[in-house]
């Protein structure tokens, strides 16, 4: 009897507490909305949004619905996160490995890089790049060409656009190459396990990846042209580049700040992972006659990755969430477009903020679920 009381009383109290809080809040919201004449509902999503977004991956104009504006914002968020994740991974791996270098200068430069970028608030870094560093760039008419065809100007970065013909055939070829590589790997693994023969899988994979798409150019009628950005005079003093793709300075500032900031955390994860593999493993692998490359590929990396991947995914998630800081420099991401402009126009605070939060929540939970599954898959299976 005593035990039952001990078990149930706290639970009932906790549930009651939560219910009371939620009840109190919804009741207040109800009365407040009644008083102000606001009704709750998601009907506004199909209404015409009548505001413009500066930068969008899909066709969008003011006559589209709020739902489409939401999609524009979401895609912009995903775009900036995706680019930043790639850059921060590359930088992070380089810096993390450099921190373990035997070279005093490299080791310390890497350490200072980490200490430097990690200890400055991300928002300040974004502001620094956007308001201070990128504003020092030349005007369009004075910009020098980088790599001959791209222009870094104060109005953004202009790069040539790719003009494809028969893109789908090219994509099919790429897909075929990937499938072929997977089959080849399976075959190679089987061969190694059964007969002990090794074939250079990496070499074959790379050549497959190059040759098949190349064939599509030669025989599939695929062609690739470039549309170069060209300087155009708008008025007496104002110039602009036309054609090609223009990346707005907001995007560049955001990508720079996010990837530099997150790369320090990725670097720490990488370092911890490599340090976490015991020295005995390396020595044992070398003593059974594996080459240094094989030691790295077959012994160190599989074990280090097991330590590196979970915290690194966490950092990717953080990066995605941090990309919402875009609102501070007016990059049209989910928060700015939807929780900013759309909220101002419709006044549907509760609905819009909940949709925004739920979107981020579902991104986080999805990635977390995938990571848990992956972790289960790679964790050491003890016999």
């Amino acid at each position: 009897m005593n035990n039952i009381i001990k078990k149930f009383i706290p639970q009932i109290l906790a549930i009651l507490f939560v219910v009371l809080i939620f009840g109190f809040l919804t009741m207040n919201a109800q009365t407040n909305m009644d008083n102000r004449g606001i009704d709750f509902g998601f009907g506004f999503l199909s209404q015409e949004s009548s505001f413009d977004v500066q930068f969008s991956l899909i066709e969008y104009s003011g006559s589209d619905s709020y739902a489409r504006a939401f999609l524009v914002g979401l895609l912009n968020t995903l775009l900036v996160s995706f680019i930043s994740i790639i850059i921060c991974t590359i930088l992070g791996v380089i810096i993390g490995v450099a921190r373990l270098s035997s070279n005093y200068l490299i080791k310390n430069s890497a350490a200072w890089y980490v200490e430097f970028f990690r200890n400055i608030p991300l928002l300040l870094q974004i502001f620094f790049w956007y308001y201070a560093a990128l504003r020092a760039l030349p005007l369009p008419e004075k910009a020098n060409a980088w790599f001959g065809v791209t222009y870094m100007t104060v109005k953004g970065y202009y790069i040539p656009a790719m003009v494809w013909e028969n893109l789908n055939i090219f994509l099919y070829c790429g897909l075929a190459a990937i499938i072929a590589i997977i089959l080849l790997r399976n075959y190679a693994n089987k061969l190694r396990d059964n007969e002990g023969k090794q074939i250079p899988v990496l070499l074959y994979s790379i050549s497959l990846l190059i040759v098949l798409p190349l064939l599509s150019f030669l025989f599939g009628g695929v062609s690739l042209g470039f549309e170069l950005p060209e300087l155009k005079k708008l008025s007496k003093i104002s110039y602009i580049y036309e054609g090609g793709i223009s990346l707005p300075p907001e995007l560049i500032a955001l990508v720079l700040a996010l990837s530099l900031y997150t790369s320090t955390f990725v670097a720490e994860c990488v370092r911890a992972g490599i340090e976490g593999v015991s020295k005995g493993q390396k020595e044992a692998a070398a003593s059974v006659g594996l080459t240094p490359n094989q030691v790295l590929k077959l012994v160190i990396m599989p074990q280090a990755l097991r330590i590196i991947i979970p915290p690194t995914t966490n950092q990717y998630l953080n990066l995605t969430k941090n990309s919402s800081l875009a609102a501070a420099i007016a990059y049209p991401d989910l928060v700015l477009v939807f929780a900013g402009t759309a909220l101002m126009q419709t006044g549907k605070a509760i609905e819009i903020v909940s949709i925004t939060m739920l979107t981020y929540l579902s991104i986080s939970l999805t990635i977390a679920a995938i990571m848990n599954w992956y972790n289960k898959k790679i964790e050491i299976k003890e016999k």
Binding site: Q11, S102, N119, L123, A132, V335, Y360, S364
Partner: protein, 423 residues
């Protein structure tokens, strides 16, 4: 007669090698230094592309010649071991050295030699360097926001008092030490709140009322992070224990809480606190924006705190729980006297990281219209009298935040070392 073997150093010509090698490295360094500092190109007689590559090539040859195993010269051995183990390392070493040398004169002259600090208006800044006059003139605004100048002593006194009360725990008598946790969790926040309310807000004791809208600058950063710090830790502890609880209702409530806050970005939480939260309050109930923001950040960071503390709880061996139970301790006794003291010791680095993240997140309150340091910078930047000094402002703010965060992380290392016990 000494033969000079150009291909391979041997015992007899080590000296020649090391001397020629260091000479070449020296030449390459002198070339780069003179190029960067004095703007003299020593190798202008060479054709274009070779001129730029000259220091790199000579440096590489020099380092290659210097690379002698067990040369007998201690300095040389040390150098070789640390920066010159192979050609690739040597190349990276040279590249790093060169880029430091190249960047040094420009940044030094911008930051120090060509910079202006005298005067009190924009006109004083005529040089090509940084304009620190801007920082000097705006310094009080950056520190105290729009708080009236003549009352700045109130903020300073309040901070000194709060810090002084914080140190009380160190000087508590031995027999009072058991109430230490109680003091820090309940009494201290109340004292701090009263001090800040009566001194900074004012309104009584003959002090003029200053509304929170005027608060700002770095002092606001401190106020927000201080309150969030002291509130989020106990809250995080509760949810960490809740998540490990054997009672399903409590466990799932805690899990939902933690996963919800960890899944959303802080900026949406702040939006929620500023636009959505007022809808959820009773009609005639007014809550200050600053208080709402502090509550929002506290709830948000508590989830992260909880996860860190849970990590510590999980890493304790089962034996500790069993031993405590077998002594007849109940749930609370076991946790307060056995589990938490050990677990909290383990999570010091993690907690410190959470706190660091919190301090770094405080500039975000800028997006809901509270002008702390980043907000004041944005204000100053758009002031028509002071246009064009964004760079100086952000460098100044970055330096301040960097010092704060770096000091915090170093302190956490110390704390970790201090409380490290053999396990």
């Amino acid at each position: 007669m000494q033969t000079f073997n150009f291909l391979k150093p041997n015992r007899s010509n080590i000296k020649n090698y090391s001397i020629i090698g260091s000479f070449l490295v020296l030449v390459s360094l002198i070339d780069v230094i003179s190029n960067a500092f004095l703007k003299i190109n020593l190798t202008s007689f060479l054709p274009g592309s070779i001129t730029t590559l000259f220091p790199l090539i000579t440096g590489l040859i020099g380092l290659n010649m210097m690379r002698i195993d067990y040369s007998g010269n201690k300095t040389l051995d040390l150098l070789n071991k640390n920066i010159n183990t192979n050609n690739f390392n040597a190349l990276l070493t040279l590249l790093i050295l060169f880029s430091i040398i190249k960047a040094l004169p420009q940044s030094l002259s911008w930051m120090i030699f060509d910079a202006t600090i005298s005067g009190d208006s924009k006109d004083a800044c005529t040089g090509t360097g940084a304009c620190w006059t801007y920082i000097k003139v705006w310094f009080r605004r950056f520190m105290y926001g729009m708080y009236p100048n003549e009352f700045h002593w109130r903020i300073n006194t309040a901070f000194i008092l709060v810090i002084a009360f914080g140190f009380v725990g160190y000087f508590m008598k031995e027999n009072l030490k058991k109430y230490l946790a109680l003091y820090y969790v309940i009494i201290y926040p109340v004292i701090a709140y009263l001090v800040i309310y009566y001194l900074i807000s004012g309104g009584s004791f003959g002090l003029q009322w200053v509304e929170t809208g005027a608060w700002g600058g770095l002092s606001l950063t401190f106020i927000v992070s201080f309150f969030c710090l002291i509130f989020c830790f106990p809250l995080g502890m509760i949810f960490a224990l809740g998540r490990r609880s054997s009672l399903p209702a409590i466990k799932y409530i805690s899990i939902c809480y933690i996963e919800f806050w960890r899944g959303v970005p802080l900026i949406t939480v702040l939006f929620m606190s500023s636009v959505m939260f007022p809808m959820f309050l009773p009609e005639d109930f007014f809550m200050d924006k600053l208080v709402r923001v502090i509550i929002a950040i506290t709830l948000f960071e508590a989830a992260y705190c909880a996860e860190v503390i849970r990590g510590g709880l999980q890493s304790l061996p089962r034996g500790q729980y069993d031993a405590a139970k077998s002594l007849g301790m109940g749930y609370w006794k076991m946790h307060i006297f056995v589990i938490l003291p050990q677990a909290l010791k383990l999570v010091i680095p993690g907690i410190a990281n959470t706190f660091l993240a919190l301090v770094k997140d405080t500039p975000l309150i800028f997006v809901v219209g509270l002008a702390e340091l980043a907000g004041m910078l944005a204000l100053a930047k758009t002031n028509p009298k002071w246009l064009g000094f964004a760079m100086e402002g952000y460098i100044f703010a970055s330096i301040i935040f960097w010092i704060i965060c770096y000091a915090m992380s170093k302190y956490s290392y110390n704390l970790e070392a201090k409380y490290k016990t053999e396990r």
